[in-house]
Protein backbone atom coordinates (compact mmCIF):
# COMPACT_ATOMS: atom_id res chain seq x y z
CA UNK A 1 0.00 0.00 0.00
CA UNK A 2 2.59 2.51 1.10
CA UNK A 3 4.93 1.46 -1.67
CA UNK A 4 2.37 1.93 -4.39
CA UNK A 5 1.36 5.32 -3.04
CA UNK A 6 4.95 6.33 -3.08
CA UNK A 7 5.54 5.24 -6.64
CA UNK A 8 2.38 7.05 -7.72
CA UNK A 9 3.63 10.16 -6.02
CA UNK A 10 6.95 9.75 -7.79
CA UNK A 11 5.25 9.43 -11.13
CA UNK A 12 3.13 12.46 -10.47
CA UNK A 13 6.23 14.33 -9.38
CA UNK A 14 8.04 13.32 -12.55
CA UNK A 15 5.11 14.52 -14.65
CA UNK A 16 5.06 17.77 -12.78
CA UNK A 17 8.79 18.15 -13.35
CA UNK A 18 8.33 17.73 -17.07
CA UNK A 19 5.48 20.20 -16.99
CA UNK A 20 7.38 22.74 -14.99
CA UNK A 21 10.42 22.29 -17.20
CA UNK A 22 8.29 23.68 -19.97
CA UNK A 23 7.42 26.59 -17.76
CA UNK A 24 11.02 27.21 -16.78
CA UNK A 25 11.01 30.60 -18.37
CA UNK A 26 7.90 31.72 -16.51
CA UNK A 27 8.47 34.87 -14.48
CA UNK A 28 7.75 35.13 -10.77
CA UNK A 29 4.99 37.65 -11.31
CA UNK A 30 3.09 35.39 -13.65
CA UNK A 31 3.54 32.43 -11.31
CA UNK A 32 2.09 34.55 -8.58
CA UNK A 33 -0.95 35.34 -10.67
CA UNK A 34 -1.38 31.81 -11.92
CA UNK A 35 -1.36 30.66 -8.32
CA UNK A 36 -3.64 33.32 -6.92
CA UNK A 37 -6.06 33.95 -9.75
CA UNK A 38 -8.19 30.79 -9.45
CA UNK A 39 -8.91 31.54 -5.81
CA UNK A 40 -9.78 35.15 -6.48
CA UNK A 41 -11.95 34.24 -9.46
CA UNK A 42 -13.88 31.63 -7.54
CA UNK A 43 -14.46 34.03 -4.68
CA UNK A 44 -15.56 36.74 -7.10
CA UNK A 45 -18.03 34.34 -8.69
CA UNK A 46 -19.42 32.86 -5.50
CA UNK A 47 -19.08 35.75 -3.09
CA UNK A 48 -18.75 39.16 -4.68
CA UNK A 49 -21.02 38.73 -7.65
CA UNK A 50 -23.83 37.34 -5.46
CA UNK A 51 -23.29 40.17 -2.99
CA UNK A 52 -23.71 42.74 -5.72
CA UNK A 53 -26.75 40.90 -6.97
CA UNK A 54 -28.21 40.93 -3.48
CA UNK A 55 -27.68 44.68 -3.27
CA UNK A 56 -29.49 45.12 -6.57
CA UNK A 57 -32.35 42.83 -5.53
CA UNK A 58 -32.80 44.70 -2.27
CA UNK A 59 -34.13 47.65 -4.25
CA UNK A 60 -36.69 45.59 -6.16
CA UNK A 61 -39.92 43.75 -5.50
CA UNK A 62 -38.46 40.50 -6.89
CA UNK A 63 -39.85 37.16 -5.74
CA UNK A 64 -37.85 34.05 -6.53
CA UNK A 65 -40.95 31.88 -6.65
CA UNK A 66 -42.65 33.99 -9.31
CA UNK A 67 -40.18 34.05 -12.18
CA UNK A 68 -42.75 35.39 -14.62
CA UNK A 69 -43.60 38.45 -12.56
CA UNK A 70 -42.09 41.73 -13.82
CA UNK A 71 -39.32 42.95 -11.52
CA UNK A 72 -39.87 46.54 -10.49
CA UNK A 73 -37.35 48.95 -9.00
CA UNK A 74 -38.97 50.20 -5.82
CA UNK A 75 -36.17 52.31 -4.40
CA UNK A 76 -35.60 52.08 -0.68
CA UNK A 77 -39.08 50.82 0.18
CA UNK A 78 -37.81 47.46 1.40
CA UNK A 79 -35.39 49.22 3.74
CA UNK A 80 -38.06 51.58 4.99
CA UNK A 81 -40.40 48.71 5.69
CA UNK A 82 -37.67 46.81 7.51
CA UNK A 83 -36.48 49.66 9.66
CA UNK A 84 -40.03 50.65 10.47
CA UNK A 85 -41.09 47.19 11.56
CA UNK A 86 -41.21 46.54 15.27
CA UNK A 87 -40.99 42.81 14.64
CA UNK A 88 -37.50 43.19 13.16
CA UNK A 89 -36.33 45.07 16.27
CA UNK A 90 -37.66 42.19 18.32
CA UNK A 91 -35.58 39.72 16.33
CA UNK A 92 -32.48 41.88 16.66
CA UNK A 93 -33.06 42.14 20.39
CA UNK A 94 -33.37 38.38 20.65
CA UNK A 95 -30.13 38.08 18.68
CA UNK A 96 -28.36 40.58 20.93
CA UNK A 97 -29.58 38.80 24.05
CA UNK A 98 -28.23 35.54 22.66
CA UNK A 99 -24.87 36.99 21.62
CA UNK A 100 -24.28 38.89 24.85
CA UNK A 101 -25.18 36.09 27.22
CA UNK A 102 -23.33 33.39 25.33
CA UNK A 103 -20.24 35.60 25.36
CA UNK A 104 -20.49 36.36 29.06
CA UNK A 105 -21.00 32.75 30.07
CA UNK A 106 -18.38 31.40 27.71
CA UNK A 107 -15.79 33.95 28.78
CA UNK A 108 -16.41 33.17 32.44
CA UNK A 109 -16.33 29.41 31.98
CA UNK A 110 -13.65 29.36 29.30
CA UNK A 111 -11.26 31.69 31.12
CA UNK A 112 -11.86 29.84 34.36
CA UNK A 113 -11.12 26.49 32.78
CA UNK A 114 -8.01 27.87 31.09
CA UNK A 115 -6.69 29.15 34.43
CA UNK A 116 -7.28 25.74 35.98
CA UNK A 117 -5.75 23.81 33.11
CA UNK A 118 -2.75 26.10 33.19
CA UNK A 119 -1.84 24.65 36.57
CA UNK A 120 -0.48 21.67 34.71
CA UNK A 121 -1.96 18.94 36.83
CA UNK A 122 -1.51 15.38 35.74
CA UNK A 123 -3.77 14.38 32.84
CA UNK A 124 -4.34 18.01 31.85
CA UNK A 125 -3.88 17.34 28.15
CA UNK A 126 -6.23 14.34 28.25
CA UNK A 127 -9.04 16.30 29.86
CA UNK A 128 -8.42 19.25 27.57
CA UNK A 129 -8.89 17.05 24.53
CA UNK A 130 -12.14 15.71 25.95
CA UNK A 131 -13.42 19.20 26.62
CA UNK A 132 -12.63 20.27 23.06
CA UNK A 133 -14.84 17.68 21.38
CA UNK A 134 -18.25 19.44 21.44
CA UNK A 135 -16.91 22.43 19.54
CA UNK A 136 -16.05 20.38 16.46
CA UNK A 137 -19.48 18.77 16.08
CA UNK A 138 -22.27 19.74 13.73
CA UNK A 139 -24.52 22.24 15.54
CA UNK A 140 -27.61 21.21 13.59
CA UNK A 141 -27.22 17.52 14.33
CA UNK A 142 -26.31 18.06 17.96
CA UNK A 143 -29.08 20.64 18.30
CA UNK A 144 -31.62 18.10 17.17
CA UNK A 145 -30.54 15.72 19.82
CA UNK A 146 -30.68 18.41 22.47
CA UNK A 147 -34.42 18.76 21.85
CA UNK A 148 -34.62 15.20 23.10
CA UNK A 149 -32.38 15.95 26.07
CA UNK A 150 -34.63 18.94 26.85
CA UNK A 151 -37.94 17.02 26.80
CA UNK A 152 -39.72 18.02 30.00
CA UNK A 153 -41.15 14.56 30.64
CA UNK A 154 -38.52 12.15 29.45
CA UNK A 155 -35.41 14.24 28.91
CA UNK A 156 -32.29 13.82 30.96
CA UNK A 157 -31.67 17.56 31.39
CA UNK A 158 -34.90 18.23 33.20
CA UNK A 159 -34.40 15.04 35.21
CA UNK A 160 -30.93 15.99 36.41
CA UNK A 161 -31.87 19.57 37.26
CA UNK A 162 -34.97 18.35 39.07
CA UNK A 163 -32.92 15.77 40.93
CA UNK A 164 -30.49 18.34 42.29
CA UNK A 165 -32.67 21.43 42.53
CA UNK A 166 -36.19 20.03 42.83
CA UNK A 167 -37.53 22.28 40.11
CA UNK A 168 -40.07 19.82 38.74
CA UNK A 169 -40.32 19.19 35.00
CA UNK A 170 -38.64 22.02 33.11
CA UNK A 171 -40.13 22.92 29.76
CA UNK A 172 -36.93 24.41 28.42
CA UNK A 173 -38.04 24.84 24.83
CA UNK A 174 -41.72 25.57 25.31
CA UNK A 175 -41.62 28.16 28.02
CA UNK A 176 -41.25 31.79 27.07
CA UNK A 177 -38.87 32.49 29.94
CA UNK A 178 -36.70 29.40 29.55
CA UNK A 179 -36.46 29.11 25.77
CA UNK A 180 -33.90 31.92 25.31
CA UNK A 181 -31.76 30.17 27.92
CA UNK A 182 -32.15 26.78 26.31
CA UNK A 183 -30.26 27.99 23.24
CA UNK A 184 -27.70 29.86 25.33
CA UNK A 185 -26.96 26.71 27.33
CA UNK A 186 -26.36 24.55 24.27
CA UNK A 187 -24.21 27.18 22.60
CA UNK A 188 -22.21 27.59 25.78
CA UNK A 189 -21.78 23.84 26.02
CA UNK A 190 -20.48 23.74 22.47
CA UNK A 191 -18.27 26.81 22.38
CA UNK A 192 -16.79 27.31 25.85
CA UNK A 193 -13.84 25.17 24.70
CA UNK A 194 -13.14 27.73 22.00
CA UNK A 195 -12.68 30.57 24.45
CA UNK A 196 -10.81 28.23 26.76
CA UNK A 197 -8.35 27.24 24.06
CA UNK A 198 -7.55 30.85 23.18
CA UNK A 199 -7.23 31.90 26.80
CA UNK A 200 -4.89 29.00 27.33
CA UNK A 201 -2.77 30.19 24.43
CA UNK A 202 -2.72 33.62 26.05
CA UNK A 203 -1.70 32.24 29.44
CA UNK A 204 1.09 30.19 27.92
CA UNK A 205 2.43 33.26 26.16
CA UNK A 206 3.15 35.00 29.47
CA UNK A 207 6.85 34.85 30.20
CA UNK A 208 7.59 33.44 33.66
CA UNK A 209 9.93 36.25 34.64
CA UNK A 210 6.98 38.58 34.97
CA UNK A 211 5.58 36.48 37.78
CA UNK A 212 9.03 36.15 39.33
CA UNK A 213 9.37 39.91 39.36
CA UNK A 214 5.92 40.28 40.87
CA UNK A 215 6.90 37.77 43.52
CA UNK A 216 9.88 39.91 44.45
CA UNK A 217 7.58 42.94 44.66
CA UNK A 218 5.36 40.90 47.01
CA UNK A 219 2.31 41.24 44.80
CA UNK A 220 -0.65 39.16 45.96
CA UNK A 221 -2.47 36.70 43.73
CA UNK A 222 -5.19 39.17 42.80
CA UNK A 223 -2.66 41.82 41.82
CA UNK A 224 -0.73 39.31 39.75
CA UNK A 225 -3.91 38.38 37.98
CA UNK A 226 -4.96 41.98 37.42
CA UNK A 227 -1.62 43.42 36.35
CA UNK A 228 0.01 40.49 34.58
CA UNK A 229 -2.38 37.74 33.60
CA UNK A 230 -5.35 39.76 32.44
CA UNK A 231 -3.57 42.27 30.19
CA UNK A 232 -1.60 39.47 28.54
CA UNK A 233 -4.62 37.28 27.94
CA UNK A 234 -6.94 40.09 26.90
CA UNK A 235 -5.89 40.27 23.22
CA UNK A 236 -6.44 36.53 22.86
CA UNK A 237 -9.75 36.75 24.65
CA UNK A 238 -10.88 39.63 22.48
CA UNK A 239 -9.93 37.74 19.36
CA UNK A 240 -11.98 34.79 20.56
CA UNK A 241 -14.92 37.07 21.27
CA UNK A 242 -14.60 38.58 17.79
CA UNK A 243 -14.79 35.21 16.08
CA UNK A 244 -17.52 33.83 18.29
CA UNK A 245 -19.49 37.08 18.34
CA UNK A 246 -19.70 37.14 14.57
CA UNK A 247 -20.63 33.47 14.44
CA UNK A 248 -23.36 33.90 17.03
CA UNK A 249 -24.71 37.00 15.38
CA UNK A 250 -25.17 34.84 12.28
CA UNK A 251 -26.51 31.93 14.36
CA UNK A 252 -28.90 29.76 12.42
CA UNK A 253 -28.43 26.00 12.46
CA UNK A 254 -28.39 25.25 16.18
CA UNK A 255 -31.40 27.41 17.00
CA UNK A 256 -33.45 26.27 14.02
CA UNK A 257 -33.20 22.72 15.20
CA UNK A 258 -33.68 23.54 18.87
CA UNK A 259 -36.58 25.98 18.99
CA UNK A 260 -37.12 27.04 15.35
CA UNK A 261 -37.72 30.52 16.73
CA UNK A 262 -40.44 29.62 19.21
CA UNK A 263 -42.34 29.82 21.40
CA UNK A 264 -44.05 32.59 19.48
CA UNK A 265 -41.14 34.71 18.34
CA UNK A 266 -39.14 34.43 21.55
CA UNK A 267 -36.03 32.95 19.99
CA UNK A 268 -36.58 34.21 16.47
CA UNK A 269 -33.00 35.29 15.76
CA UNK A 270 -32.17 37.48 12.78
CA UNK A 271 -30.94 34.65 10.56
CA UNK A 272 -33.94 32.49 11.33
CA UNK A 273 -36.35 35.22 10.36
CA UNK A 274 -34.27 35.93 7.27
CA UNK A 275 -34.69 32.33 6.22
CA UNK A 276 -38.45 32.54 6.70
CA UNK A 277 -38.70 35.70 4.63
CA UNK A 278 -36.38 34.47 1.89
CA UNK A 279 -37.15 30.78 1.57
CA UNK A 280 -40.62 30.33 2.99
CA UNK A 281 -42.40 33.55 2.12
CA UNK A 282 -40.15 34.07 -0.91
CA UNK A 283 -40.02 37.83 -0.51
CA UNK A 284 -36.65 37.90 -2.21
CA UNK A 285 -36.28 41.65 -2.57
CA UNK A 286 -37.32 42.36 0.99
CA UNK A 287 -35.09 39.64 2.43
CA UNK A 288 -32.16 40.83 0.33
CA UNK A 289 -32.52 44.21 2.02
CA UNK A 290 -32.59 42.43 5.38
CA UNK A 291 -29.45 40.51 4.42
CA UNK A 292 -27.64 43.70 3.50
CA UNK A 293 -28.62 45.33 6.78
CA UNK A 294 -27.29 42.33 8.68
CA UNK A 295 -24.08 42.32 6.69
CA UNK A 296 -23.49 46.03 7.24
CA UNK A 297 -24.19 45.59 10.95
CA UNK A 298 -21.74 42.71 11.30
CA UNK A 299 -19.12 44.47 9.23
CA UNK A 300 -19.55 47.75 11.08
CA UNK A 301 -19.50 46.26 14.56
CA UNK A 302 -16.60 44.01 13.55
CA UNK A 303 -14.54 46.95 12.32
CA UNK A 304 -15.13 49.03 15.43
CA UNK A 305 -14.22 46.01 17.52
CA UNK A 306 -11.00 45.40 15.61
CA UNK A 307 -9.99 49.04 16.17
CA UNK A 308 -10.50 48.58 19.90
CA UNK A 309 -8.65 45.30 19.77
CA UNK A 310 -5.64 46.93 18.12
CA UNK A 311 -5.62 49.63 20.77
CA UNK A 312 -5.63 47.01 23.52
CA UNK A 313 -2.79 45.17 21.81
CA UNK A 314 -0.61 48.28 21.63
Amino acid sequence: MAGSTRSATNRAAAAATRFSAKLRGVSDASIAWIFIAPTILLLLAINIFPLLWTIYLSFTNFRANQPGRPVRWIGTRNYERLLGSEDIWGYLQATAHFVIWTMILQIALGFGLALLINRNFRGASFWTTIILIPMMLSPAVVGTFWTYIYQPQTGIFSYIIDFFAGTGALDMIGSVTLAPWSIIIVDTWMWTPYIMLLCLAGLRSIPDYLYEAAEIDRANALQKFWYITLPRVLPFLMLAVLFRGIENFKMFDLVVELTSGGPGSTTELASINLKREAFEKWRTGYSSAFAIILFVTIFGLGNIYVKVLNKVKS
Partner: protein, 315 residues
Protein backbone atom coordinates in the same frame (compact mmCIF):
# COMPACT_ATOMS: atom_id res chain seq x y z
CA UNK B 1 7.51 21.88 32.08
CA UNK B 2 8.16 25.08 33.95
CA UNK B 3 9.50 23.64 37.13
CA UNK B 4 10.35 25.91 39.98
CA UNK B 5 8.32 28.77 38.60
CA UNK B 6 5.50 29.99 40.76
CA UNK B 7 2.46 30.99 38.79
CA UNK B 8 -0.60 32.04 40.73
CA UNK B 9 -1.78 29.19 42.89
CA UNK B 10 0.33 26.67 41.07
CA UNK B 11 2.61 25.67 43.83
CA UNK B 12 0.79 23.24 46.05
CA UNK B 13 -0.01 19.69 45.01
CA UNK B 14 -3.40 20.22 46.62
CA UNK B 15 -4.04 23.15 44.29
CA UNK B 16 -3.16 21.00 41.33
CA UNK B 17 -5.43 18.27 42.56
CA UNK B 18 -8.35 20.63 43.01
CA UNK B 19 -7.81 22.22 39.62
CA UNK B 20 -7.58 18.81 38.02
CA UNK B 21 -10.76 17.65 39.71
CA UNK B 22 -12.67 20.73 38.66
CA UNK B 23 -11.57 20.37 35.04
CA UNK B 24 -12.33 16.66 35.06
CA UNK B 25 -15.76 17.35 36.52
CA UNK B 26 -16.49 19.88 33.79
CA UNK B 27 -15.30 17.45 31.14
CA UNK B 28 -17.48 14.68 32.51
CA UNK B 29 -20.56 16.87 32.64
CA UNK B 30 -19.85 18.13 29.13
CA UNK B 31 -19.63 14.54 27.95
CA UNK B 32 -23.11 13.59 29.23
CA UNK B 33 -24.95 14.66 26.06
CA UNK B 34 -22.52 12.75 23.86
CA UNK B 35 -22.66 9.63 25.99
CA UNK B 36 -26.42 9.98 25.96
CA UNK B 37 -26.45 10.06 22.15
CA UNK B 38 -24.35 6.92 22.01
CA UNK B 39 -26.52 5.12 24.55
CA UNK B 40 -29.84 6.15 23.04
CA UNK B 41 -28.79 4.62 19.73
CA UNK B 42 -28.90 1.22 21.40
CA UNK B 43 -32.20 1.66 23.20
CA UNK B 44 -35.52 0.37 22.03
CA UNK B 45 -38.05 3.11 21.14
CA UNK B 46 -40.11 2.59 24.31
CA UNK B 47 -36.97 2.69 26.47
CA UNK B 48 -35.98 5.95 24.84
CA UNK B 49 -39.12 7.74 26.03
CA UNK B 50 -39.49 6.16 29.45
CA UNK B 51 -39.70 8.21 32.61
CA UNK B 52 -37.41 8.54 34.49
CA UNK B 53 -34.77 8.32 31.76
CA UNK B 54 -33.24 4.87 31.67
CA UNK B 55 -29.53 4.63 32.30
CA UNK B 56 -29.49 0.85 32.31
CA UNK B 57 -31.35 -0.91 29.54
CA UNK B 58 -31.21 -3.92 27.34
CA UNK B 59 -29.24 -2.91 24.23
CA UNK B 60 -30.83 -3.53 20.87
CA UNK B 61 -29.94 -2.70 17.29
CA UNK B 62 -33.48 -1.55 16.55
CA UNK B 63 -32.42 2.08 16.25
CA UNK B 64 -29.81 1.19 13.65
CA UNK B 65 -32.25 -1.01 11.74
CA UNK B 66 -34.80 1.80 11.77
CA UNK B 67 -32.13 4.20 10.60
CA UNK B 68 -31.44 2.20 7.47
CA UNK B 69 -35.00 1.12 6.60
CA UNK B 70 -38.44 2.53 6.04
CA UNK B 71 -41.24 0.54 7.55
CA UNK B 72 -45.00 0.44 7.39
CA UNK B 73 -47.41 -0.65 10.08
CA UNK B 74 -49.69 -3.45 9.01
CA UNK B 75 -52.25 -5.78 10.49
CA UNK B 76 -51.17 -9.12 11.88
CA UNK B 77 -53.07 -10.91 9.10
CA UNK B 78 -51.24 -8.96 6.42
CA UNK B 79 -47.87 -9.68 8.03
CA UNK B 80 -48.83 -13.33 8.34
CA UNK B 81 -49.49 -13.44 4.59
CA UNK B 82 -45.91 -12.40 3.84
CA UNK B 83 -44.39 -15.59 5.22
CA UNK B 84 -41.63 -15.89 7.80
CA UNK B 85 -39.08 -13.09 8.15
CA UNK B 86 -36.00 -13.54 5.98
CA UNK B 87 -33.45 -11.87 8.22
CA UNK B 88 -32.76 -10.92 11.80
CA UNK B 89 -33.59 -7.29 11.17
CA UNK B 90 -36.89 -8.13 9.53
CA UNK B 91 -37.73 -10.16 12.58
CA UNK B 92 -36.87 -7.22 14.82
CA UNK B 93 -39.18 -4.93 12.87
CA UNK B 94 -42.09 -7.37 12.77
CA UNK B 95 -42.17 -7.51 16.53
CA UNK B 96 -43.64 -4.03 16.30
CA UNK B 97 -46.34 -4.99 13.77
CA UNK B 98 -44.36 -3.48 10.97
CA UNK B 99 -42.88 -4.63 7.69
CA UNK B 100 -39.82 -3.24 5.96
CA UNK B 101 -40.96 -1.45 2.84
CA UNK B 102 -37.52 -0.46 1.64
CA UNK B 103 -34.18 1.10 2.47
CA UNK B 104 -34.12 4.55 4.00
CA UNK B 105 -32.27 7.48 2.51
CA UNK B 106 -29.66 7.61 5.23
CA UNK B 107 -26.95 5.72 3.34
CA UNK B 108 -27.43 7.98 0.29
CA UNK B 109 -27.20 11.10 2.41
CA UNK B 110 -24.12 9.87 4.20
CA UNK B 111 -22.52 9.07 0.87
CA UNK B 112 -23.37 12.58 -0.37
CA UNK B 113 -21.68 13.99 2.71
CA UNK B 114 -18.57 12.00 1.90
CA UNK B 115 -18.50 12.96 -1.79
CA UNK B 116 -19.20 16.65 -1.22
CA UNK B 117 -16.92 16.80 1.83
CA UNK B 118 -13.91 15.24 0.13
CA UNK B 119 -14.53 16.94 -3.21
CA UNK B 120 -14.69 20.43 -1.75
CA UNK B 121 -11.80 19.75 0.61
CA UNK B 122 -9.56 18.64 -2.22
CA UNK B 123 -10.37 21.72 -4.29
CA UNK B 124 -10.11 24.14 -1.39
CA UNK B 125 -6.76 22.76 -0.30
CA UNK B 126 -5.43 22.57 -3.85
CA UNK B 127 -6.37 26.15 -4.72
CA UNK B 128 -5.53 27.30 -1.22
CA UNK B 129 -2.01 25.88 -1.38
CA UNK B 130 -1.28 27.68 -4.61
CA UNK B 131 -2.75 30.96 -3.40
CA UNK B 132 -1.02 30.70 -0.04
CA UNK B 133 2.32 30.17 -1.72
CA UNK B 134 1.63 33.07 -4.05
CA UNK B 135 0.74 35.39 -1.20
CA UNK B 136 3.62 34.27 0.95
CA UNK B 137 6.43 34.41 -1.57
CA UNK B 138 5.60 37.00 -4.17
CA UNK B 139 4.94 40.67 -4.30
CA UNK B 140 1.23 40.84 -4.96
CA UNK B 141 -0.33 44.25 -5.43
CA UNK B 142 -2.96 45.04 -2.78
CA UNK B 143 -1.92 41.89 -0.93
CA UNK B 144 -3.38 42.85 2.43
CA UNK B 145 -6.62 44.00 0.87
CA UNK B 146 -6.96 40.78 -1.04
CA UNK B 147 -6.25 38.70 2.03
CA UNK B 148 -8.78 40.66 4.02
CA UNK B 149 -11.29 40.31 1.21
CA UNK B 150 -10.79 36.56 1.31
CA UNK B 151 -11.50 36.56 5.03
CA UNK B 152 -14.46 38.92 4.86
CA UNK B 153 -16.36 36.46 2.72
CA UNK B 154 -17.01 34.61 5.96
CA UNK B 155 -18.82 37.51 7.56
CA UNK B 156 -22.04 37.10 5.60
CA UNK B 157 -24.69 34.96 7.28
CA UNK B 158 -25.00 31.80 5.19
CA UNK B 159 -28.73 32.34 4.81
CA UNK B 160 -28.03 35.72 3.22
CA UNK B 161 -25.47 34.24 0.84
CA UNK B 162 -27.91 31.49 -0.05
CA UNK B 163 -30.44 33.93 -1.57
CA UNK B 164 -28.39 34.91 -4.65
CA UNK B 165 -26.69 31.51 -4.77
CA UNK B 166 -30.12 29.90 -4.99
CA UNK B 167 -30.98 32.09 -7.99
CA UNK B 168 -27.59 31.52 -9.57
CA UNK B 169 -27.76 27.76 -9.18
CA UNK B 170 -31.28 27.70 -10.56
CA UNK B 171 -30.10 29.59 -13.63
CA UNK B 172 -27.10 27.33 -14.14
CA UNK B 173 -28.89 24.08 -13.35
CA UNK B 174 -26.71 23.52 -10.29
CA UNK B 175 -29.60 23.30 -7.80
CA UNK B 176 -29.45 20.12 -5.79
CA UNK B 177 -26.29 18.85 -7.49
CA UNK B 178 -23.11 17.61 -5.88
CA UNK B 179 -21.09 19.77 -8.26
CA UNK B 180 -22.86 22.91 -7.09
CA UNK B 181 -22.37 22.07 -3.43
CA UNK B 182 -18.71 21.20 -3.96
CA UNK B 183 -18.14 24.54 -5.66
CA UNK B 184 -19.93 26.43 -2.92
CA UNK B 185 -18.14 24.68 -0.05
CA UNK B 186 -14.84 25.16 -1.86
CA UNK B 187 -15.46 28.88 -2.01
CA UNK B 188 -16.44 29.04 1.64
CA UNK B 189 -13.46 26.94 2.72
CA UNK B 190 -10.97 28.88 0.64
CA UNK B 191 -10.76 31.67 3.18
CA UNK B 192 -9.80 29.18 5.86
CA UNK B 193 -7.41 27.24 3.68
CA UNK B 194 -5.61 30.28 2.26
CA UNK B 195 -5.11 31.86 5.68
CA UNK B 196 -4.03 28.67 7.37
CA UNK B 197 -1.73 27.53 4.61
CA UNK B 198 -0.16 30.94 4.25
CA UNK B 199 0.84 30.63 7.88
CA UNK B 200 2.44 27.27 7.19
CA UNK B 201 4.31 28.56 4.13
CA UNK B 202 5.52 31.59 6.06
CA UNK B 203 7.12 29.24 8.55
CA UNK B 204 9.26 27.56 5.90
CA UNK B 205 12.52 29.48 5.55
CA UNK B 206 12.97 31.05 2.13
CA UNK B 207 16.60 29.97 2.17
CA UNK B 208 15.57 26.42 1.30
CA UNK B 209 14.06 27.49 -1.98
CA UNK B 210 16.84 29.93 -2.72
CA UNK B 211 19.36 27.14 -2.26
CA UNK B 212 17.32 24.96 -4.60
CA UNK B 213 17.18 27.69 -7.24
CA UNK B 214 20.95 28.09 -6.95
CA UNK B 215 21.16 24.35 -7.59
CA UNK B 216 19.38 24.90 -10.90
CA UNK B 217 15.76 24.30 -9.97
CA UNK B 218 13.11 26.52 -11.47
CA UNK B 219 10.69 28.37 -9.21
CA UNK B 220 8.02 25.76 -9.81
CA UNK B 221 10.40 22.89 -9.21
CA UNK B 222 11.51 24.49 -5.99
CA UNK B 223 7.88 24.85 -4.95
CA UNK B 224 7.13 21.26 -5.86
CA UNK B 225 10.23 19.58 -4.48
CA UNK B 226 11.18 21.78 -1.55
CA UNK B 227 8.17 23.68 -0.25
CA UNK B 228 5.37 21.17 -0.73
CA UNK B 229 7.06 18.34 1.18
CA UNK B 230 7.64 20.74 4.06
CA UNK B 231 3.98 21.73 4.05
CA UNK B 232 2.71 18.19 4.27
CA UNK B 233 1.63 18.37 7.91
CA UNK B 234 0.08 21.78 7.40
CA UNK B 235 -1.84 20.62 4.37
CA UNK B 236 -3.12 17.60 6.24
CA UNK B 237 -4.33 19.72 9.13
CA UNK B 238 -5.95 22.25 6.79
CA UNK B 239 -7.65 19.48 4.86
CA UNK B 240 -9.14 18.08 8.01
CA UNK B 241 -10.47 21.47 9.04
CA UNK B 242 -12.04 21.97 5.61
CA UNK B 243 -13.47 18.49 5.73
CA UNK B 244 -15.02 19.06 9.14
CA UNK B 245 -16.57 22.33 7.99
CA UNK B 246 -18.09 20.76 4.88
CA UNK B 247 -19.19 17.76 6.90
CA UNK B 248 -20.97 19.88 9.49
CA UNK B 249 -22.44 22.53 7.20
CA UNK B 250 -26.19 22.83 7.49
CA UNK B 251 -27.68 26.09 6.20
CA UNK B 252 -26.55 25.82 2.57
CA UNK B 253 -27.37 22.14 2.45
CA UNK B 254 -30.83 22.84 3.83
CA UNK B 255 -31.62 25.62 1.41
CA UNK B 256 -29.89 24.49 -1.76
CA UNK B 257 -30.40 20.73 -1.87
CA UNK B 258 -33.50 18.63 -1.65
CA UNK B 259 -32.84 15.02 -2.47
CA UNK B 260 -30.16 14.21 -4.99
CA UNK B 261 -27.30 16.05 -3.31
CA UNK B 262 -28.61 16.43 0.20
CA UNK B 263 -26.02 15.77 2.87
CA UNK B 264 -26.60 14.19 6.26
CA UNK B 265 -26.97 17.28 8.51
CA UNK B 266 -30.33 18.44 7.13
CA UNK B 267 -31.45 14.83 6.89
CA UNK B 268 -30.73 13.55 10.38
CA UNK B 269 -33.18 15.95 12.07
CA UNK B 270 -36.00 14.63 9.92
CA UNK B 271 -35.50 10.93 10.51
CA UNK B 272 -38.77 9.76 11.85
CA UNK B 273 -40.15 6.39 12.53
CA UNK B 274 -43.68 5.39 11.98
CA UNK B 275 -45.89 7.52 14.16
CA UNK B 276 -43.25 9.11 16.32
CA UNK B 277 -39.92 10.76 16.42
CA UNK B 278 -37.77 7.71 16.49
CA UNK B 279 -35.08 8.84 18.92
CA UNK B 280 -32.99 5.67 18.81
CA UNK B 281 -32.79 6.00 15.01
CA UNK B 282 -31.94 9.69 15.29
CA UNK B 283 -29.30 8.84 17.87
CA UNK B 284 -27.92 6.05 15.68
CA UNK B 285 -27.64 8.42 12.73
CA UNK B 286 -26.09 11.08 14.94
CA UNK B 287 -23.55 8.60 16.31
CA UNK B 288 -22.48 7.46 12.86
CA UNK B 289 -22.29 11.06 11.75
CA UNK B 290 -20.29 12.42 14.69
CA UNK B 291 -17.87 9.54 15.03
CA UNK B 292 -15.43 10.60 12.29
CA UNK B 293 -15.32 14.16 13.63
CA UNK B 294 -14.54 12.99 17.15
CA UNK B 295 -11.68 10.88 15.82
CA UNK B 296 -10.32 13.77 13.76
CA UNK B 297 -10.59 16.14 16.69
CA UNK B 298 -8.49 13.88 18.84
CA UNK B 299 -5.91 13.46 16.06
CA UNK B 300 -5.80 17.20 15.45
CA UNK B 301 -5.78 18.36 19.04
CA UNK B 302 -2.45 20.13 18.75
CA UNK B 303 -3.43 22.02 15.61
CA UNK B 304 -6.93 23.01 16.75
CA UNK B 305 -6.01 26.45 17.98
CA UNK B 306 -4.54 27.39 14.66
CA UNK B 307 -7.47 26.04 12.71
CA UNK B 308 -10.22 27.74 14.66
CA UNK B 309 -8.54 31.16 14.51
CA UNK B 310 -7.75 31.05 10.79
CA UNK B 311 -4.08 30.88 11.65
CA UNK B 312 -4.20 34.07 13.71
CA UNK B 313 -2.96 32.24 16.79
CA UNK B 314 -0.38 29.59 16.17
CA UNK B 315 0.80 28.24 19.45
Amino acid sequence: MKSGILKPGQATPLGKFLAGSAVALYALVAMIPLVWILATGFKSPPDSISYPPKVFFEPTLEGYVNLFTTRSRQTAEYIESLGPPKSWYEELVRRRNMVISGPSRFADRYWNSIVIGFGSTFLAVFLGTLAAYGFSRFKVPLKDDLLFFILSTRMMPPVAVAIPIFLMFRQLGLSDTAAGMILLYTAVNLSLSVWLLKGFVDEIPREYEEAAVVDGYSRLQAFWKVVLPQMRAGIAATAIFCLIFAWNEYAFALLLTSGTAQTAPPFIPIIIGEGGLDWPAVAAGTTLFLMPVVVFTVLLRNQLLRGITFGAVRK
